[in-house]
Structure formats: C-alpha cells, structure tokens
C-alpha cells in the first residue's frame, strides 16, 4: 500500500472506532474534569494565585489526560489480535506510526480545545487577545507529546504492567515539552510581548521535529518481531 494512503486509513480506522464507541474521548474528558476539580480544591485560588498557577495546572491536566488517550491507542489493538495484523500488514511501519500519531494528536487536541473554555470559566481567565498564540502552543506541545507518546504506547502495550509503565517512561522524556509549554502559556496568558516567550515556541518546534523523525525510525523496531 502506498505510504500516504496507509496513513489516511490508519487515521480513518481510529476515528471510526472512536466514533462508534466514544470510549477514549469521553474517558479523557471526564478525567480532565476531575483533575480540574482536584486542583481547585487543593489550592484556594483568588485571581492573582490563579494567574500564577494556571499555566502549570492546564498542562498537568492536559498531559495526564493525554496519557490516558495514548495508552488507549494501542491497548484497543489488543482485542482480536489487531496488533498482530498491524505487524503483518504489508504497509510501511512508519506510515502506521504517522497515522497513529495523527489520530492521537487529533483526540488530544480536540479534548484540549473542549477543556480550555472550562479553564477560562472556572479560573476567571482573561484570554481574548491570547487565543491565537495559545492555539499555536497547544498545537505544538500536543504534537510533541503524541509523537513520543505514540512510540512508547506501542512499546509498553506488549509488556506487563503497561498502564503504569507508559507514564513512567514517557513523563521524564517529556520534561522539555512540559517546561516549554508551561512557560509559553504563562507568557501568553500574562500578556507579555511575543518575543519574551518565543524561544519556548522554538524549543517546541525543535522537539517536535527531532522526535517525530527519531520515533518514525525507531517504530520499525517495535512492530518487527
């Protein structure tokens, strides 16, 4: 099968199975809501405290939610030996990887876009002029998380204790994404000029490029058996 057609089919397959079950997105959304609630209980926040902490809260919620989605991405392939079918499929493995990244990216980004208004509502944020920049930051950081995360989702799905091992392996590697996303979001929300935090966006772009390429190459060694 040609390369780009494979990518399209993998994305299409994931979207259809998500549309029919609505498992991943709904569990991600509910989990994220609970995280937001836990945070608002843990810190009694006035306007000033909220402005200080909100960037971190947003990204902790998004990352943990993303890990749920990433974990589901390959555990759902375990039923009916779908994973073995993917392994035996005469399609380029890299294309399967890119299709999975695209699907995970779409799930995570849509959950983030649904959640963000709730953050604005619950924490009284003032975001009108920062929305464009925030969308760019969400886009880049989610791409970084899903490119590494998809690789480790495929890696942990075939081992014992997979639910624990995905965050244990993924979170230390995602440290640069977390730092850059939090700093850039804080800059955007506090209304700093773009040049103050543009280096964090550059870091996100560099991370995305490096790890999409590296994971694309390494994915072949995971599915090959």
């Amino acid at each position: 099968m040609p390369f780009f057609k494979t990518i399209r089919w993998v994305v299409w397959k994931d979207l259809i199975s998500e549309w029919r079950t609505r498992e991943t997105m709904s569990s991600m959304l509910f989990f994220a809501l609970i995280v937001i609630l836990v945070f608002s209980f843990s810190f009694s926040m006035d306007q000033d405290a909220a402005r200080q902490l909100i960037a971190g809260i947003i990204w902790v919620a998004f990352t943990f939610t993303g890990i749920i989605g990433l974990g589901k991405s390959f555990t759902s392939e375990l039923q009916n030996d779908c994973l073995e079918s993917l392994q035996m499929c005469p399609a380029p493995k890299g294309a399967i990887y890119l299709g999975k990244v695209a699907a995970n990216f779409l799930f995570m980004l849509s959950v983030e876009i649904l959640l963000f208004p709730l953050f604005v509502l619950f924490f009284n944020l003032d975001v009108i002029e920062a929305v464009g920049t925030l969308l760019i930051i969400f886009f880049l950081a989610t791409l970084g998380l899903s490119s590494v995360g998809t690789l480790f989702s495929a890696l942990t799905v075939q081992i014992r204790a997979r639910e624990v091992m995905l965050p244990v392996l993924l979170l230390p590697l995602a440290v640069p994404v977390m730092i850059a996303a939090v700093e850039a979001t804080r800059g955007a929300l506090s209304g700093d000029p773009f040049s103050f935090y543009s280096q964090w966006i550059q870091l996100l772009i560099i991370f995305d490029i490096i790890f999409t390429v590296v994971s694309f190459w390494l994915f072949e060694f995971i599915l090959d058996s």
Partner: protein, 241 residues
C-alpha cells in the same frame, strides 16, 4: 563455546580493576590528605574529588549505553545487549552516588540539601530514565524483545537528555541566577592532580564493573540457552565452537 570477546575480557579485566584501585587510592590520598584546603571553600572542597568524577563517569556510562543501543539495533549482537544492560545499572549507581555526594556538598555550601539547580534536575531526570530502563527490562517476558525495547528507550533518552539539560538550564536562568559557578575560575595544580587521578580511576572502575557484569549476564544467558529456555533465540549464532 564461549565468545572470543568474553575470553578477552577475562584475560584483561584485572588490569582495569587494578588500575582503578591504584588511581582511586592515590587520588583519595592526595585529595583528602596531601592537598591544601581551598581558598574559598576550605576543607569542603575535598568532596569535589569524589563528586565530580562520579558525575563525569555517569555521563560517560550513558554515552556507552546510548551508542551500544544504536549498535545493538543495527547489528543485533547479543553481547552488545548484555553490555548495554550492564552499563545501564552501573550508570544508575554512579548517577545516584553523584546526586548523594552533590547533596552532601550542597548542604554546607548552598545551605540546603536540595535546590532546583539545572544540573541537579537533569541528573534526576537521567536517574528516572535509567530507572525506567531497568524496570522495562524486567517487565518483558521475551529477552530479545526486551533488549530491543530497552535499546529504543536508551536511544530516545540519549537524544532527549541534551534537550532536557538545555531546557532546564534555560528555565532556571530565566528565574534566578545560578548560586555557584566554577566558570571563569582557573583550576590550580593542587586541585587538578587529584581530580584527574580520581576521574581516571572512576573511568577504569566503570570499565571494570561493566566487564564483570557483561560477563555475568552473558554467561547466565548462555546457561539458560543450554538449558533450552530461550526458545525464540537467535542469540548464540556468533559463538565460536
């Protein structure tokens, strides 16, 4: 039946162990007893002769793990996989020792056991990655698959570590200046001699430990293979009869 390289290791590892013992003994003697106290830090400087070589050695150990993992994915040599596994656990040992000695040094100089200094943070992340590596190897049933997965983790980690260090450094320097820096201070000979000796000693010690551990892991695998436990194994095609 035993691999040629394993036999070479058996022959030469004693030199590495002896050299390590000699260098560390001399380095400790000069560093702890014979050298004068530092102008700024007084007697406190002496922990540096242990701390800095440990930290250097752990980065060296991770480089061995990183390049070994690339080599393993490329050539699928089981001995290289054993070497990677050996250097990962020894790297974890050196990293934790570096963090502990650093913490002991930080208490009198920075007046705190722990601070979010860039180097401390990146070493902690390194330790977390190594912990993940060691856990990952235990959680995969098929050892060949485990070696491949662990190699993938080591490669991603090796590419990520410079980015982590860079981003953490950037993050901290934007918030607060580093409280202590050796940059721009020229190092005198009194410090340089014991420091070099200890560094060479730690590198030799690392090499010796990796050799012994690789040998153990390889021979254990060989024993299992002989008992017929590795059914899915292409493992020992390269052993010389």
């Amino acid at each position: 039946m035993i691999n040629r390289i394993i036999r070479q290791i058996q022959r030469y590892k004693g030199w590495f162990g002896g050299g390590a013992a000699l260098c560390i003994f001399l380095g400790l003697y000069i560093g702890l007893l014979a050298s004068p106290p530092d102008y700024y830090q007084g007697e406190l400087v002496r922990i540096m002769y242990v701390h800095v070589p440990l930290a250097h050695t752990s980065t060296l150990a991770y480089s061995v793990l990183f390049f070994g993992s690339i080599w393993y994915l490329w050539k699928r040599d089981p001995l290289v996989d054993n070497m990677c596994q050996a250097s990962a656990s020894i790297c974890a040992l050196f990293t934790s020792l570096a963090l502990i000695t650093g913490s002991i040094w930080a208490k009198p100089t920075w007046n705190t056991w722990w601070t979010w200094d860039p180097r401390l943070v990146s070493f902690t992340v390194l330790l977390l990655i190594l912990g993940g590596y060691i856990m990952l190897r235990r959680l995969v049933d098929d050892p060949v698959q485990g070696g491949r997965y662990a190699a993938i983790l080591a490669i991603v980690g090796g590419i990520d570590l410079p980015i982590i260090k860079f981003s953490v450094e950037w993050w901290r320097t934007l918030h607060q200046p580093m409280s202590f820096s050796t940059r721009g201070v020229s190092i005198s000979e009194d410090i340089l001699v014991p420091l070099t000796l200890m560094s060479i000693g730690c590198w030799l010690l690392f090499a010796y430990m990796v050799m012994v551990r690789t040998q153990i892991l390889y021979l254990t695998d060989l024993l299992h293979a002989k008992k017929g436990r590795f059914l899915s194994q292409t493992h020992f095609s390269q052993t010389t009869p």
